[in-house]
C-alpha cells in the first residue's frame, strides 16, 4: 500500500440525506482505520480483492450515489434485515434491495436511549443507525421490509416505523403445508407493496430475469465457498466474510461478475497450491448467527491466531446462497411458488423443529475440509443459543472439535475470546 486506506467522505451528499454528518464522519474514519489494520495487513491476498477494497472505500459514497440515482428514476430502494425477504421481487419491479447496517457497537448507545439493553446487539445496532441518523443506506431507503424471525426484531419494527416506513412480513415458525400457504400469501403482499411503490407490475418475464440475476449472484457465492474447501486456503476467511457482507450492498450483476473474476484467480491459486496461509494452518468453520458489516471480530481473532476460516454457516454466509430458485417456471403463479419453495428451505433457528440445520452444518463441515467448528451466537439470540446445544451434541457424536462462543460487538471480551480461541486451536493442533 502506497497511500493509506480511507473510506471516502461525501459530506454534501450526507447533508442532503439529513445525516448527523459530524458524527458519521468520525465513524467513517474509524472504520477506515479498522479496515486498513485488519484487512490490508493480510499477506498473500488475491489481486481481485482490489475490487472489494474499492467497494469498501466507496461504501458510504459511490454506492449511495447509485442508489440516489435509482430513486431519481422513480425506482424504489428497499431496506431489509433478513435473508427471508425475496429480493427477486424487488429486482423484477425495477427496484434495489439493500441489507441495512446493524453490525457496529457505535450505534448501540443511540438505540439504548429507547430500547432495552438486554436484547440482541444486531437489532440495537440497526435501530441505533436510524435513530442516530448515522447510516446513509438507512437514510436513502424508501421503506424497510422487516420480518418476524425473532421477538426483538418484530417489536423493534413497531418503533422503527416511527422513523422510517416499516412493513413486516410474517415468517411462519414451522414448515407444514399451512405454513407454506401463509408464506405464499405474505409473498403476495410483499409483491403488491413493491408494485405499488414502484408503480410497475411484476410479470412472469421480469421476474424470470430477476430470478436469474439473483441466482447468478448466489452461484458466484457458492463458487467462492467451494474453492475455500481447498488446502491451503486460497483466500482468508476475513476476505470471504467481507464478500458475503458486500453481497447485501452491491449491485447484483456487477457483484457476481467481479466475484467470478476473483474465483477465477482463486481456482488458479488452487491449481498452483498457492494459499493465503500455510497448509498446516488449522481450518475452522464458523456456524451460527450473522456477522453484519463491519463485524469482523471473531474472524480477526481466529486468523490472527494463525488459523484460517473456511466457511460461514450463517445468514451472512451459506444460508443466504446455498439454495437456488428453479428457473424453469414460466408463469407467474408457478414462479412465486418456486420462490416460496426455495425460501422455505432456509434453515433459520426461528423454525421448530429445525433438524435440517444440524445436517447442513455437518455437510458443510465435510465439504469445507474444516478441522473444527466454532459456533457463534450473538448475545440474547435465544433461538441460536438454544439450538447450539443440538449442534454441540452432533459435533460430540461425530468427534468434531467444537467451541461455542456467545458475544456482542463490544471489545471488552476480546482477551477472554482470544484465550478460548487459541486454546481451541491448541486442541486441534494436538
Amino acid at each position: 500500500m502506497t497511500t493509506p486506506f480511507a473510506i471516502k467522505a461525501y459530506p454534501e451528499m450526507w447533508e442532503g440525506l439529513d445525516m448527523d454528518v459530524a458524527r458519521f464522519d468520525k465513524a467513517r474514519q474509524m472504520l477506515g482505520t479498522a479496515y486498513e489494520k485488519m484487512y490490508l495487513s493480510q499477506s498473500n491476498r488475491p489481486q481481485a480483492m482490489a475490487y472489494f477494497d474499492d467497494l469498501m472505500a466507496e461504501i458510504f459514497g459511490r454506492r449511495i450515489e447509485e442508489l440516489l440515482a435509482v430513486k431519481k428514476e422513480g425506482r424504489p430502494v428497499v431496506g431489509t434485515f433478513c435473508v427471508y425477504i425475496p429480493e427477486e421481487i424487488v429486482v423484477a419491479a425495477g427496484g434495489v434491495c439493500v441489507g441495512l447496517c446493524g453490525g457496529s457497537p457505535g450505534s448501540i448507545p443511540d438505540a439504548e436511549k429507547i430500547l432495552p439493553r438486554n436484547i440482541c446487539p444486531m437489532v440495537k445496532s440497526a435501530y441505533g443507525f436510524k435513530a442516530g441518523k448515522i447510516c446513509p443506506y438507512f437514510q436513502a431507503v424508501d421503506f424497510v421490509y422487516g420480518e418476524t424471525t425473532c421477538d426483538a426484531k418484530k417489536k423493534t419494527w413497531e418503533l422503527l416505523d416511527r422513523l422510517v416506513p416499516t412493513y413486516v412480513m410474517e415468517i411462519p415458525q414451522m414448515k407444514k403445508g399451512r405454513d407454506k400457504t401463509l408464506w405464499l400469501e405474505e409473498i403476495g403482499d410483499f409483491k403488491a407493496k413493491v408494485e405499488e411503490v414502484c408503480g410497475t407490475t411484476v410479470t412472469a418475464d421480469n421476474l424470470a430475469k430477476a430470478i436469474v440475476v439473483i441466482n447468478d449472484k448466489r452461484r458466484a457465492l457458492q463458487r467462492l465457498t467451494k474453492v475455500r474447501g481447498s488446502n491451503p486456503a486460497p483466500i482468508s476467511g476475513k476476505d470471504a466474510l467481507l464478500i458475503e457482507q458486500m453481497a447485501f450492498y452491491d449491485e447484483p450483476v456487477r457483484f457476481a461478475r467481479q466475484l467470478n473474476e476473483l474465483c477465477d484467480e482463486l481456482e488458479e491459486r488452487v491449481r498452483s497450491t498457492t494459499g493465503v496461509m500455510p497448509a498446516s494452518a488449522p481450518r475452522i468453520m464458523v456456524s451460527g448467527t450473522p456477522m453484519a458489516l463491519p463485524n469482523w471480530k471473531v474472524h480477526n481473532l481466529v486468523e490472527t491466531a494463525g488459523a484460517v476460516i473456511v466457511n460461514e454457516e450463517s445468514c451472512i454466509g451459506t444460508r443466504y446462497f446455498k439454495d437456488l430458485i428453479d428457473e424453469s417456471r414460466t408463469n407467474l403463479d408457478q414462479q412465486l411458488e418456486a420462490l416460496t419453495d426455495r425460501y422455505m428451505q432456509i434453515d433459520c433457528s426461528c423454525f421448530t423443529p429445525n433438524n435440517e440445520r444440524v445436517d447442513q452444518v455437518l455437510k458443510e463441515y465435510r465439504a469445507s475440509n474444516a478441522q473444527g467448528i466454532l459456533h457463534y451466537s450473538l448475545q440474547f439470540c435465544h433461538t441460536y443459543n438454544i439450538e447450539e446445544i443440538k449442534i454441540r451434541e452432533a459435533c460430540e457424536k461425530e468427534g468434531i472439535p467444537y467451541l461455542s462462543i456467545e458475544t456482542d460487538y463490544s471489545p471488552e471480551d476480546v482477551g477472554q475470546l482470544q484465550t478460548r480461541i487459541e486454546a481451541f486451536l491448541e486442541q486441534i493442533r494436538g
Binding site: 471480551d413 477472554q416 486454546a423 491448541e426
Partner: protein, 249 residues
Amino acid sequence: MFIGIDLGSRTVKVAAMRDGRLVDHQIVESGFDPQRQALEMLRRYEPVRVVATGYGRHLAQHQFAQEVITEIKAHALGARHHFPECRTIIDIGGQDSKVIALDANGRVSSFQMNDKCAAGTGRFLEIMAATLGYKLAEFGPAALASTAEVNINSMCTVFAESEVISLKNRGIPASDIARAVHRSVINRLAVMLNRLGHGDTIAFTGGVAKNPGIVAMLQEQLDQHVRLLTPALPDIVGALGAAIHAGRS
C-alpha cells in the same frame, strides 16, 4: 534451565525447571508495567527457553519469550505434573474461572470459561473481602466460621457488591455474608463442572485454591468419592506448565 512465565491479570508468576524439577519460583504483583516486572524477574536466570502464558503472553512473545501457550494448556500440563491421574482441572485466577477436561493422555479435550464479567473470579473475592472489611487471608476462614444460609443471587460483581452492602445494612453478620459470597462462587463453578462433566480426581489450581473456604465448601458440594487435590503452590501451576512445555519443545 527452562522458564515458564505466567503474566496474569493480578500477578506475574515464574517457574524455573531443571532436569524436570522445579528449582525456583516467584510471584509478584503485575503492577502497572507487567513487561518490565517480568524482565526484572527473569534477570536471575540463564534460560535455554522461555515460554509465556497468561493475559500478557503475546506482549511477552514480542519481547522475550520464544513461544506462547494459553493458560488452559499451561494448567493442563502443570496439573498433570502434580497429579498424573487427574482428568479435570478447576482453575480460578484473578480474572477468569475455568474448568478444563483432559483426555487419558492429559490433552485438553474441552473447557468452560466464565463469560466476560468477573463473577466467580479471584478479583470478585478480593472486592467482596474489601467490602466486608476482611484481609484476603481472613476471608476464607471467616466463611468457614459461619453456618448460616444467606444467599447472594447476583452473578455480577457490581450488583453483588450492592447486594452485600444491603445485607450488611440489614445487620447480617459479616461472616455469614462471607459464606454467602463463597457459596456464590461455588455455585457458579458447579454449573461449569456439570456442563463439562468431571472425573473422580479434580485438581484445583490458581490463586483462589489458597482460599480454605472455597476448597472446603467445594469439597462439600462434590460427591464423597470425588477427590479435590490442591498442589502446594496452586498459583504457579500455569507458569509450571509453561516451563514444562519449554522443556519439551
